[in-house]
């Protein structure tokens, strides 16, 4: 390992690999550091990878990459005690060009990192970056736990994931608050291809994603999911750390309760647990975005809180931010000026683009739900009750049923209170 590079990227996840790939493609001398034995060995996500923007970096990547199933149908379920209220959207046009795939990250990240290496990036595994080296107010390299000790570069891209320890060291953000992160736990359950396709009503190789709310999280602010892989299912649940702590629940108990819910239990029946995983999801949103650029340094991906929790988007933002970081770093290197004055363009591109726009749009959603647990705890069973009222045929005229539905939905909150709740949620989402 030489000791000087044009750029060092810390962390081989979607953001870091993309940044390394794009810099290497431009002929830049780039070092990609990964603390695990291989890229993906520390990385976790629910499992949906949107093809945009990766398809602009590696056109048609799905023909080569180790992916699971193209997602042709998205289902949403509001779980009640033992039933559910569901919505599904299927569109065969999502097959070509594909919109999203389920993926298993340990496989996918290794493949993606290998593409960066093929472009000329140097990947060094089993190396933890313990500290950013700052000299005269500018970042000049990182300290690593290897005999070489220190590596230097014109620019360091921090893509070190949800904990974002290095950006914190630089003072780019304070320690995350428990409200700003969701603790997600997940299991991969092996199940035969035939069973998956019959059970989820899909054709050969096709996939479904299911997001679950309500009883799925015991009404805690968060979401649960069930995704189809080739010959396995990924099932998990994530809730804000603050609410989990307050509820004095063990996260794996939430997962077990989810797995035993009648609706879910039938879908996963016979699935053999293969791996248990846990990870933080940065869900602080717009207001939690840290300082993104400094002298000789940029922050990308989860480390920068680039997650849209409402739409389960994260890896796509990671890839996009890694791509933008590489573009700006390349420009700065051309100019021979990697100071904050030039690198700050990265922040502009992020904020003016889809990441900034979407995070700003949902800036109030998570805080509102976090501060008002009634949205999930109170309204979820109420909504279930109202729909049951509507669909149960028992001689009660529909006019009366509508009245009862309103009563269900406004119970304990009053009509005005309920109207206010809906208005506030609508404003935070729409």
């Amino acid at each position: 390992m030489s000791l000087r590079y044009e750029a060092i990227v810390v962390g081989a996840g979607p953001a870091g690999i993309t940044a390394a790939y794009e810099l290497a493609r431009r002929g830049r001398d780039v070092l990609l550091l990964e603390r695990g034995p291989y890229p993906g060995s520390k990385n976790v996500m629910g499992g949906i990878l949107y093809t945009y923007p990766l398809r602009e970096i590696i056109p048609g990547f799905w023909e080569k990459a180790p992916l699971e199933r193209p997602i042709l149908e998205q289902r949403y379920m509001l779980l009640d005690d033992d039933g559910h209220l569901a919505f599904a959207f299927r569109d065969p046009s999502w097959a070509d060009p594909p919109n999203a795939f389920s993926v298993l990250r340990a496989k996918f990240d290794q493949w993606y990192a290998a593409q960066a290496v093929a472009q000329g990036a140097l990947l060094i595994n089993e190396t933890t970056a313990t500290e950013v080296i700052v000299n005269d107010g500018r970042v000049v390299g990182v300290r690593v736990d290897r005999p070489e000790g220190e590596v230097f570069a014109d620019v360091v891209i921090l893509a070190d994931g949800a904990n974002s320890l290095l950006a914190k060291q630089l003072g780019f953000h304070k320690e995350w608050h428990p409200e700003e992160v969701a603790l997600a736990v997940m299991e991969v359950l092996s199940l035969s291809k035939d069973k998956i396709e019959a059970r989820f009503n899909v054709g050969d190789g096709e996939g479904v994603s299911i997001e679950m709310l309500g009883e799925a999280t015991l009404g805690l602010p968060g979401m649960a999911w069930l995704y189809t892989n080739k010959e396995s299912l990924s099932i998990g649940v994530g809730v804000t750390l603050s609410s989990l702590r307050e509820a004095r629940m063990k996260p794996y108990e939430l997962l077990e309760r989810l797995k035993s819910h009648p609706t879910v239990a039938r879908l996963i029946e016979g699935g053999k647990p293969e791996e248990y995983l846990a990870h933080l999801i940065p869900e602080g949103g717009y207001r939690a975005i840290p300082k993104l650029a400094g002298h000789g340094v940029l922050v990308a991906g989860d480390a920068a809180q680039f997650v849209n929790a409402v739409h389960r988007e994260g890896s796509n933002f990671a890839i996009l931010s890694g791509k933008l970081a590489a573009e700006i770093v390349d420009e700065a290197l051309k100019l021979g000026d990697t100071s904050e004055n030039v690198l700050i363009r990265y922040r502009d591109l992020i904020m003016q683009g889809v990441i900034g726009s979407d995070l700003k749009k949902y800036a109030d959603t998570i805080p509102l739900i976090e501060k008002n647990p009634l949205y999930l705890k109170h309204y979820s069973p109420r909504l279930h009750g109202a729909v049951r009222e509507l669909f149960t045929v028992d001689g009660v005229p529909k006019k009366e049923k509508q009245k009862r539905m309103i009563e269900h939905l406004t119970a304990e909150r009053g009509k005005l209170g309920a109207a206010r709740d809906v208005w506030r949620l609508g404003r935070a989402i729409w």
Partner: protein, 93 residues
């Protein structure tokens, strides 16, 4: 079904380091200030176990999520990544 945490952890691969990457900064805080022993509730792999007078830290089963560092109301957990190559090694997702 792997419903107990021991069964779950059996599924996950670890490459244990010789030294703990997790340190309780002041054991007195756990003993005298933290009645709830919060970390013993929310840690996804039950790394923390209260042993009457002292917090036992089973760092070998840590999946490095970071929840304890952020979730300890007293900021009493010093948390760094394990040395390169050590710690949890996910094989699948």
């Amino acid at each position: 079904m792997a419903s107990k945490i021991e069964e779950k952890l059996y599924l996950t691969r670890f490459q244990a380091a010789e030294q703990s990457h997790l340190t309780v900064i002041d054991h007195d805080i756990c003993l005298t200030k933290c009645e709830e022993k919060w970390c013993t509730h929310f840690c996804p792999t039950d790394v923390y176990r209260w042993e009457g007078t002292r917090m036992h830290v089973g760092y070998e089963g840590c999946v490095e999520c970071g929840s304890c560092r952020i979730g300890c109301p007293y900021g009493n957990i010093h948390w760094v990544y394990p040395e390169g190559g050590k710690g949890v090694v996910y094989r699948l997702a």
